[in-house]
């Protein structure tokens, strides 16, 4: 029972952590929230759906979908962020919100309002049993993928020159620019990485629900929001931690709460977010020293 709970939390948490990491990456550097982040999941879903008829194997389709996701993420930068970057925080929030609405309604207009089936290889839903735990294969794959991604990601941030430049920009953007770090390159890389992480997490998400509809982006966006707020808006370790904590909270609610209170789960979770922002506005893990937009 306890082991089952741990496996559930870990598999859900690894997905949440990847979502949160993608959001915090952009927030860390630009200090701006990307409301169009959830729409990357929409892109993943519809890309795989549109490639359904093609002769390619599934892995190739999801690979293309992730590439599309990266492109959309970079497009978000060019459409919603770059033209208004120097203006107020509110302006950028609204442009990204508008871009999200644009993508959603484009899906509504060009494809359909009805949920569409997304093909997934059947082995992902097979159950395996070990140590008394019964779980679908995709949960184990989620954990594995997350561990590998997080390892590569943190190594990249720690050791590569670009990673160093990104960390410098996240600490003090103007100072980094003065020292010769190309701002646009760093920002584009951040968006591309954010798209990549969202793409990977989105593929895992798709394997769980295996359908796509225009409003699909909301839930992952909220998850990423909550996880980053809990963990610390500016710290990448915090985002990962926040993802796992959120998964733990969600799963505990699922296990403990009776059915008629469970429908208020979102209200509880969001009240919790408000509480954390009030008690500890910086989240559990503090990021680099300068929090203000520079």
């Amino acid at each position: 029972m306890i082991l089952q709970f741990i496996v559930d939390v870990l598999s859900l948490g690894s997905m949440y952590a990847l979502f949160a990491l993608g959001l915090v990456l952009v927030y860390g550097i630009l200090k701006l929230v990307n409301f169009a982040y959830g729409e990357l999941i929409l892109v993943i879903g519809y890309s795989i759906f549109l490639l359904k008829g093609s002769p390619f194997p599934w892995f190739f389709m999801s690979f293309i979908a992730i590439i599309m996701c990266i492109f959309t993420s970079i497009a978000t930068d060019y459409v919603a962020f770059r033209p208004v970057r120097e203006k107020s925080v509110t302006a950028v929030l609204i442009t990204s919100f508008a871009f999200a609405t644009l993508l959603q309604n484009a899906a509504l207009l060009l494809i359909s309002a009805k949920p569409k089936n997304v093909p997934m290889p059947s082995f992902l839903s097979d159950s395996v049993q070990f140590l008394g735990v019964i779980t679908p294969v995709r949960n184990l794959i989620s954990i594995l993928v997350a561990v590998v991604c997080l390892f590569i990601f943190f190594q990249f941030m720690k050791r590569s020159l670009l990673g160093l430049a990104m960390r410098a920009s996240a600490t003090n953007f103007n100072m980094a620019r003065m020292l010769g770090i190309p701002a646009n390159l760093v920002i584009t890389t951040a968006f591309a990485l954010s798209g990549l992480l969202a793409g990977i997490a989105g593929t895992l998400w798709m394997s769980k629900i295996s359908m796509v509809f225009p409003g699909i982006g909301l839930e992952p966006l909220l998850i990423a929001f909550i996880a980053t707020v809990i963990g610390g808006m500016r710290s990448i370790q915090g985002a990962v931690l926040g993802g796992f904590i959120l998964a733990f909270i969600d799963m505990s609610f699922n296990y403990l709460l009776p059915q008629d209170i469970l429908k208020f789960r979102d209200a509880f979770t969001f009240s919790f977010v408000i509480l954390i922002l009030v008690i500890r506005p910086e989240g559990l893990i503090r990021g680099p020293a300068t929090g203000a937009r520079t």
């Binding site: 929030l93 225009p214 979102d266």
Partner: protein, 343 residues
Amino acid sequence: MKDFTNENFINILFFFGLFLLIYALNIFMGTAIFERILTNLFIYIILVVGLQVFMGNSGILSFAHIGYMSIGAYCSGIFSIPVKMKSMALPDLYYFIQITTFDPVICIFIGGIFAAIVAAVLTLPLMRLNDAAAVITSFAVLMVIHSIVVGWSAVTNGPRTFFGVPKATTLELAMIFSFAAVIIAFLYKNSRFGLLLRATRDNEVAAESIGANTVYLRWFAVIVSAFLAGIAGGLWGHFITSFSPKSFYLRETFLVISMIIIGGSFTVTGAIAGALFVTIGYEFLRWIEKVIKFSDAIKFEFIGLTEIFLSITMIVFLVTKPKGLFPFLEIGEIIKKKFFNKE
């Protein structure tokens, strides 16, 4: 100080004239559809002006106002459904509400007051947050209100349609309320609280150094603006008569924010202009959608076209005119400069 009251007077007079003009236009046109659109417009004006009271004066974007609107709509609806209908529409309602019914106009006020109380309780601790944190918490407030409305079946009929609300909102009523909202917004803006809050918007540190208490100033603005949003919700509820939690969610939030952004959030004039232009544009696009649908020229469903157009307009506005159509000056000040040629 004398000058401020003077400007308030010109502004209020101008909008009084404008509203009368719109009303006269309705008598002239005389069709039911036109009256519907105009009633909707007046309700949106209340909502956007209410949002402007908070957003314009404090400079903080708020997603929560559609949530306050839903509180107003449900609250006003629950109290005004006739006793006989109540057992049918809401069988699990608590007894003391079950046996009471008020006049819809009173209920609209109850809805507004209730929305203000909820906002007051919920948001006091959030008022010290700035920038992104403030926006995310307002988003969270919207989510909390939405999920409570969806979940609390005994009172709201859950995610299903809430029906049986008596139709009480006429064009005249909506017009009177929206005129009152405009007066409140102007009085607030040029009052001591409004001026201090605008000072914190422009430079928080400097304003606090001369004694402005940012948290309480913002809190007061939220209460006023939630009250107006609640009133708008009540009016809307008595106009539509049956609605569901879906009516108060991201789609409507987007519409209202697009209104205030296109018009300009710093001025009441901007808020009204935004409501006016977006409503006109919205109805025009809806009309085009309908024409395309019935002309059989293109076999294609055109849902979502309006939103796409709106979001592109918003992005263009934010890039080229980030402060909207009326960035700083109210209409009264513009008229003064133009016709009386003085500073």
